[in-house]
Symmetry: C2
Subunit: 515 residues, 2 copies
């Protein structure tokens, strides 16, 4: 048994059964071990950001980490933008990063780099395994770290000789520490805050947005009259008919402060006090009103559902009906010219039960939520780290995790280009993903941001940095070049027809919406 064998067996035994991989020479023994060990599914990505984003999506849908397989420092670096998003989302990932043989590093050959230094800003746990005999145990610790609530990035660096050297044991993964239950004091404080007669808001994030936790929040709302609000972006929000309906804190500062206006008591459960995504001259960073008192019930890594259950019990709300449950109701199929509302309606009208929506629609999709509030139950995944290039890779991982569910990945054209290689993996694995590209042929968000930072009326050189229209991208051709069929639509009738067809079939399909 090689060190690589011992590691792959340890991973499989520890419940890590999918590898999103982009290997190179230094990982060849590990690749050879994948042949010998049963139980690991390997999914190849043509760019490492596809692998890390896929591992993020996989974790969000399974609450179990996948592994990545990355080629030394630069391979890890290419994965880092989506590792950043995963870290902010509280997703657990076990990164396996190849390294030169221990004795070879000192020769500083082309691929030599400070791999631990590269990993640290994006990881909770980093270790270079020193020998083939330690690899299994280090792998087990990596799994444990990755599974630590709500999920962490664990990076295990594997020098080639520790992969090809001899090993004897397969390691047992120690159980991760249980998420913290709410303290009685925190529950009492939250109950007081929501019953002191002032306008209150229960702000939810993380696993407080799963269906059962939402139901508890709805009961608390019934009992106390508080608003229930979701954070601006969320790793996984369960919504649709029969579930407590949640809106998110808007991205635009003025809209966010309007939503939060008048709130005097805010109770946080899995969410942080709302802050502006970016700073803008003369605008606040913190979005809650100045006289709002903020009380923390549970952090994102705590047991948020237990916290809500305890709070509901404290309030005597466990048997109350939940407020804000969405009635089953789809919008009519839209027709005519493309409008933002029309896009939201097309989604609400066609999405199947149990769909997984991966939302990187940026400016286009900000108003989509109401149109699918009464659609059949589904999950909605946001970008938590703000690094674009998130949508297609996360869809890959969600589809690998949930082969029986339709994944709908909505992506702005600018965002889609960062990790466009994900389409190939969708074709290779025949993943059931409908990719919808909103082609406004610009980094549309930057036009408004340019004004927001106090620099309106951009001149030609600035405009040139914001536009993607010269040359025009053709996403249908790009998709076909990677083995994914697709079509372009110019109006809502075309979009609805295409979406209906796509929802009724299995396998990847791309729809480019010309805005």
């Amino acid at each position: 048994m090689t060190g690589a064998d011992s590691l792959v067996r340890t991973l499989v035994k520890g419940g890590v059964t999918v590898s999103f991989a982009n290997p190179g020479t230094s990982e060849m023994h590990y690749v050879a071990a994948l042949d010998r060990v049963q139980g690991m599914r390997c999914v190849l990505g043509l760019f490492e950001g596809v692998c890390s984003g896929a591992a993020d999506g996989y974790y969000r849908m399974t609450d179990m980490p996948a592994a990545t397989l990355l080629h030394l420092g630069p391979g890890l670096a290419n994965a880092c933008a989506n590792l950043h998003n995963a870290k902010k989302a509280g997703s657990g990932i076990v990164n396996i990063v190849g390294e030169h043989a221990t004795y070879h590093i000192k020769f500083d050959t082309p691929l030599t780099a400070d791999i631990e230094g590269i990993a640290k800003p994006f990881s909770h746990w980093v270790k270079t395994s020193p020998t083939s005999k330690t690899v299994a145990k280090d792998g087990a610790h990596a799994i444990q770290a990755a599974r630590t609530s709500p999920g962490q990035i664990a990076t295990l660096i594997l020098p080639a000789d520790t992969a090809w050297g001899a090993a004897h044991e397969v390691a047992e993964t120690p159980p991760p520490p249980a998420p913290q239950k709410p303290s009685a004091d925190a529950v009492t404080a939250a109950a007081k805050a929501l019953t002191n007669g002032e306008p209150g808001m229960l702000l939810l994030g993380g696993r407080a947005l799963r269906a059962r936790a939402l139901e508890l929040a709805g009961k608390i709302a019934t009992k106390t009259g508080c608003k229930v609000q979701g954070a601006g972006a969320n790793a996984r929000l369960q919504r649709g008919a029969g579930r407590v309906q949640i809106s998110r804190v808007p991205f635009v500062v003025e809209q966010a402060t309007a939503v939060l206006k008048g709130t005097r008591q805010m109770v946080l459960c899995g969410a942080r006090q709302p802050a502006a995504f970016f700073a803008y001259p003369g605008k606040p960073s913190i979005l809650t009103p100045e006289d709002c008192v903020v009380t923390k019930l549970a952090d994102v890594e705590d047991d948020c559902e237990a916290a809500l259950e305890a709070l509901a019990a404290e309030l005597g709300a466990l048997d109350a009906p939940a407020a804000g449950i969405a009635a089953a109701k789809r919008p009519d199929k839209p027709s005519g010219k493309i409008t933002l509302d029309g896009l939201g309606m097309a989604l609400g009208a066609t999405m199947p039960e149990n769909a997984i929506v991966v939302d990187e629609s940026v400016t286009t999709g900000r108003g989509f939520f109401p149109f699918s509030a009464g659609a059949p139950p589904h999950d909605w995944l946001n970008n938590m780290g703000g690094s674009i290039g998130f949508g297609a890779p996360v869809a890959v991982g969600a589809a690998v995790a949930c082969p029986d569910r339709k994944v709908i990945s909505m992506i702005g054209d600018g965002s889609a280009m960062y990790t466009v290689q994900a389409l190939w993996t969708m074709a290779r694995e025949n993943l059931d993903v409908c990719v919808i590209i909103f082609s406004n042929r610009s980094y549309q968000i930057l036009y408004s941001q340019l004004a927001d930072v106090g620099a309106p009326n951009p001149g030609p050189r600035a405009i040139d940095m914001l536009t993607l229209d010269r040359p025009a991208l053709d996403f249908v051709k790009l998709a076909k070049g990677m083995g994914v069929e697709g079509a372009r639509v110019e109006d809502l009738d075309g979009l609805t027809k295409q979406m209906q067809w796509a929802m009724g079939q299995k396998g990847p399909y791309l729809i480019e919406v010309m805005m």
Copy 2:
């Protein structure tokens, strides 16, 4: 004048007149300043690795740094793989990385990350500018650092309020330290080594591979009988008819040791003692014979041409004719089925004078050199850091640097996918680049590497990690999707015809060679 204005003006004044940019919100004041300040050319990339690779190519062809413009930590992370390649190549780059406003960082919003931590493994110089008043001076120091021989990666982090706040001065860039001249001792030692009667080799790298330095090396060879050899990979090698012909140390360990066999005296000028790219079980890391004495004449950051001039003078070789000058001779145009030699012949037969060859042909191109040795004078650029995804971005930068020269970018299909977005920038800027993709539909190198590490006969899961044939990539469609015309060729007649046509026109064009 804002801090951003002061920085852009400082860059232009300091000779940094091209920005390879992928901006976001936090960089909007900088983008606005680009409108107001004359003299900066902005080139947009749809992925940050295109920007950093382009800056690498630009430096290699101009010996002057370009700037990048990157969006916070994740934007920088996406640039890092090609920054790694640039760092190993000794290319100077001024990275401008946006950051949240200083007072906003503590709120740990989605895009907050440890930007300095991300930059450090890939940079020689890193600084976060603290105020709008310091930005200009920090920018000047970044230019100075980037211009320090042979070229360094300088990363200036620009919090948004330091860009939008007031500034008063444009800073003067201090001159970079002059590269070190050779010491008399080093020259004497090198002269002794090459004249002691033992078989000698002069191993060249860095700027020792420019035409004048090569001529000096050829004179030294005439006088001493030593071999003149190039390092395995080189930032920029000047070659072709009338220049001293250079071969490179092969990638494959057995081939490399065969080339170096019998060498008893090795003199290094801008190169390091040859080491294997990767470690392999039972194979050496150091490739020179055990009894070979290694003498360092000049490091890559030293003045290599002056070192060779001093050595030639010491040897009385300045007036000697240079050995090994390549005669003008092109191969015949090849025809028939695709062969590796035939590909090299097609290149040698069609490349125009002053071509810039960006070589990321990986396994396919290892034997190309002899067929273009007598072609008209040209530059040949290798990947120095081993991170694939180098070829198309570096071609972008070389073409921006040298608008009157044809750039030929030869890329393996696996490599091309990492930074395929570069094609769009080629179309947008109408860059004179002929991209040649070698489609063997696999990570071909990994097949041999799998055997080399002692794991032959891969099984289905391993093979699945090495093959790109399911689905087949179609690079002509991919190129068209990004506005670049192209064609697929199935034999050498088709290739030669396409290449001749491509060499005779201006603007980007892609040829996919079906292997």
